[in-house]
């Protein structure tokens, strides 16, 4: 029999020192007003080792005698100290201790018993009902007004509130195709938003370091295995609530149509009625579009405004820009941008237009425009869509092309929650390349069953019929589960058919992904996707296949 089992048997079955009642059969002592102080046993003062094993001594005193688990007990033999042991397990009248070469009959001193609890106070009976009624009437007739709490008005800052965040990600990505070969890349992303350097100076940083360990047929920067991209390295000073000054590599939030530049920006913050207004000027040289290296070939400068207003139903924001822009592709031209956005619970509406004049290329004033809308007329119904027009044909000064061309795109969607676990949706849209005439249309249904499997999953499936210069159809089925909070899984299978005169028409792919929140600030993401052709009869040679995957470790503060 194991030692713990012996200990348990001793504690349960050993006779009580007084009265011969075993612990297992002991009746709980009386409690409450019936309990009498005279029922407490007299303090013994000394306990005794009942018997011993090679490692343990079994004592005839327990928690009722003042011993506690973990306490050190000093043993005495014939009046002389013989060692000490530590209480390992304890019952009301017995205990087991370890750590001493004890013998039966060794004694030990018992601590003084705890002080007697004070006798319970017996409250007087409640007053009679007529007395209570009289008191209530007095209170109700007292001429005191209701005390109300009025929170002091909150002083809203003039400048938009700055959020603070730091994200650091390490990623390994790989792509492999047969035939074709493998490419792999390691990248380090650093994102710091609003990091306070002093009480009035803040740092924003947005950068990526990439290293290609292998690369097949690169199109851009083929000879650069290691690449650094710096989108923002911006110091912002707030000398007062009414002014902000930024310098460095500026990512101009809120300036529509603008781009990253190396220079400075000054903004003045004020109020116009209930609206928060920021006006400012900016200027600097614009980095290269493919490498972000500084250059003097491109520059920009101008003014901007941002107006924010909290309306009863939502938030209204309008932004604008007037600027002169110089680039090798377009020459020197004047540009203007204007946006209007309204965000509410039932409606998100956004419109944006970019105008341009002068330079080498003429787009008919309207460079680009887009409208986005999402409408939730009922709690179960969502309808939305967007339209985008790009009218500026950029001359391509380097290959492969990187700039936008003339396009028209639109899409719409509709979602309806039939019941809590079933949503039906549909989507449709088109995308036209104006310069080449190539265009596509697509439409199809979607079915989502949120949490239909409880925490084990949301199921969804969709189908898309596709027309146009690359016609075909596609479908997917997906399972997403969060079995317990730190983990998230996704599995997706998809199929596509292309109406091509080439050798392969049908493809299938499988994607598996997982995310684990290792701590509150550390997360791991894994993803693996594989695809192959499904029409095996097509053409000679082996069946082509490919996979891609990534692993990301992300720390966020």
């Amino acid at each position: 029999m194991s030692a713990p089992a012996i200990v348990a048997l001793f504690l349960l079955a050993a006779p009580a020192p007084e009265g011969g009642v075993t612990a297992a059969a002991a009746v709980p002592p009386p409690s409450g007003p019936e309990a009498s102080p005279s029922a407490r046993p007299a303090h013994r003062g000394v306990g005794e080792v009942a018997y011993v094993t090679a490692e343990r001594a079994y004592l005839d005193a327990g928690s009722d005698d003042g011993l506690a688990s973990g306490a050190e007990v000093t043993l005495r033999r014939h009046g002389e100290p013989s060692g000490s042991c530590r209480i390992e397990a304890i019952a009301p009248h017995h205990a087991v201790c370890v750590g001493a070469r004890a013998r039966p009959g060794d004694t030990f001193a018992l601590p003084a018993p705890p002080a007697e609890p004070p006798p319970p106070t017996v409250l007087p009976p409640p007053p009679p009902e007529d007395v209570m009624a009289r008191r209530r009437a007095v209170l109700e007739s007292a001429p005191l007004a209701l005390v109300t709490f009025q929170a002091p008005p909150k002083e809203e800052p003039l400048a938009m509130p700055r959020t603070r965040a730091i994200d650091l990600s390490v990623t390994h990505q790989t792509w492999d195709a047969s035939p074709g070969g493998a490419s792999s890349k390691e990248s380090l992303d650093l994102l710091a938003r609003g990091v306070p350097l002093t009480s009035w100076l803040f740092l924003d940083l947005d950068a990526r370091l990439e290293h290609w360990t292998s690369r097949q047929n690169p199109r851009f920067r083929p000879s650069d295995k290691t690449q650094v991209y710096l989108w923002q390295a911006q110091l912002t000073a707030l000398p007062s609530d009414a002014m902000s000054i930024s310098a460095g590599r500026v990512l101009p939030w809120g300036i529509p149509g603008a781009t990253v530049f190396d220079g400075g920006m000054v903004g003045w913050h004020s109020r116009w009625g209930e609206a928060r207004v920021e006006t400012g000027v900016f200027g600097g040289v614009v980095p290269q579009p493919d490498t972000l290296k500084p250059t003097t070939q491109r520059d920009t400068g101008g003014g901007y405004w941002i107006i924010d207003r909290q309306l009863p139903g939502g938030l209204f924001r309008t932004e604008g820009r007037l600027a002169a822009v110089r680039s090798p592709e377009l020459g020197t031209r004047g540009e203007a941008s204007l946006t209007g956005r309204y965000f509410a619970r039932a409606l998100d509406l956004s419109a944006e237009a970019n105008l341009g004049a002068g330079g080498k290329v003429h787009s008919g004033v309207l460079d680009s425009a887009r409208v986005d809308a999402t409408f939730r007329p009922a709690s179960r119904l969502t309808v939305g869509g967007s339209y985008r027009y790009d009218g500026l044909g950029w001359p391509q000064t380097f290959d492969p092309p990187a700039f936008p061309g003339k396009t028209r795109e639109a899409d719409g969607f509709l979602g309806y929650e039939v019941v809590r676990w079933l949503r039906l949706g549909a989507t449709a849209g088109f995308s036209d390349d104006v310069s080449s005439g190539a265009g596509r249309r697509f439409f199809g249904p979607e079915l989502i069953m949120p949490a239909v499997l409880g925490r084990w999953g949301t199921l969804s499936a969709g189908y898309l019929e596709e027309k146009g210069w690359i016609a075909g159809r596609s479908a997917y089925g997906q399972w997403v589960a969060t079995p317990w909070r730190p983990l998230w899984f996704l599995a997706r299978a998809s199929w596509s058919h292309e109406e091509t005169q080439g050798p392969y028409e049908d493809e299938g792919s499988v994607t598996l992904a997982a995310r684990a929140e290792l701590t509150s600030f550390l997360a791991l993401r894994l993803s693996l996707s594989a695809r192959t052709v499904l029409d095996a009869s097509s053409g000679a040679g082996s069946r082509p296949a490919a996979y891609s995957g990534f692993a990301t470790l992300q720390a966020a503060y």
Partner: protein, 280 residues
């Protein structure tokens, strides 16, 4: 909470008959700063103000990912839950794309991180360029080379926009068929797939001889043809080029054609009969 619960009856009792008549509704009173008809017990328990137990799913905006970690005030900035707040991501978040990709951030990002986009080949089918074959296993930056604005603008819909070097190779004698001499256009998709350049199909060839199905499926041009005549894509393909060398592989044809009237061991005779041959 305990203090407030204890004080509330005192306020009610001390407020006179009018206030006492409102006693049953006093638990519905908003706490300072919350505004509207906020019901305390919807979020708090008698054990204390924290933790807050509000089930945000009922609002229709499920708190997922990083949204679970932020304080209520991070979104409800007016210090009241009565004011409606927008649901659009860009109402709270700054957009590194500077508006170029619209306002529906959730189409590409999930609530756990902006750094790991959830946009894949399935979503790309809703553009003008569905990703199939090897295009589906490329880094986004291999096509979208404008790294500065992160706008993922359309780079090109033309194959030669990215495959200029491959076209130059095929037109300069670096491929089995010299595309320039053969008069091939840049309608690459007519013959090639997105998996690999070879094997390729030649749909116009079907009018003369089936090379999409059967034992000749995927066969290379120069396995049959001694030379390739120029092709005019504006005219029907001529089947009488006299350049197909059937006998090179089918040298045992005479033994298989004993008794066939008109048989002769001449290439042209082969495809006069076996124009759509699939093994017969």
């Amino acid at each position: 909470m305990r203090t407030s619960v204890a004080l509330l009856p005192l306020f009610a009792l001390a407020a006179g008959p009018a206030a006492a008549a409102e006693l049953p509704s006093i638990s519905m009173r908003p706490l300072p700063g919350h505004g509207g008809d906020t019901e305390c017990s919807a979020c708090h328990t008698a054990d204390g103000w924290r933790p807050v137990t509000f089930n945000h799913d009922r609002t229709g905006f499920v708190l997922e990912g990083r949204h679970r970690e932020v304080s209520c005030k991070a979104c409800h900035r007016t210090n009241t839950f009565a004011d409606p707040i927008p649901r659009a991501c860009s109402a709270c978040h700054r957009d590194v794309h500077l508006g170029r990709l619209g306002q529906r951030c959730q189409d590409c990002h999930d609530p756990t991180s902006f750094a790991a986009p959830a946009f894949g080949p399935e979503a790309h089918r809703r553009t003008n360029f569905p990703l199939t074959g090897r295009h589906a296993v490329l880094a986004c930056e291999e096509c979208h080379g404008d790294r500065r604005d992160r706008g993922f603008d359309r780079p090109t819909a033309r194959c030669e926009g990215c495959h200029q070097a491959d076209l130059a190779l095929a037109s300069g004698g670096g491929a089995a068929v010299n595309h320039a001499l053969a008069g091939f256009t840049t309608a690459c998709r007519s013959c090639h797939s997105t998996w690999r350049f070879t094997p390729a199909s030649f749909p116009a060839h079907q009018a003369c001889f089936d090379i999409l199905h059967g034992p000749h499926a995927g066969i290379r041009c120069m396995d049959c043809h001694t030379t390739l005549p120029p092709v005019s894509f504006t005219q029907p393909l001529s089947c009488s080029t006299d350049t197909a060398n059937c006998i090179r592989c089918h040298a045992n044809a005479p033994s298989q054609h004993q008794g066939v009237a008109g048989f002769a061991m001449v290439n042209r005779k082969c495809y006069e009969c076996h124009r759509f041959a699939t093994g017969q």
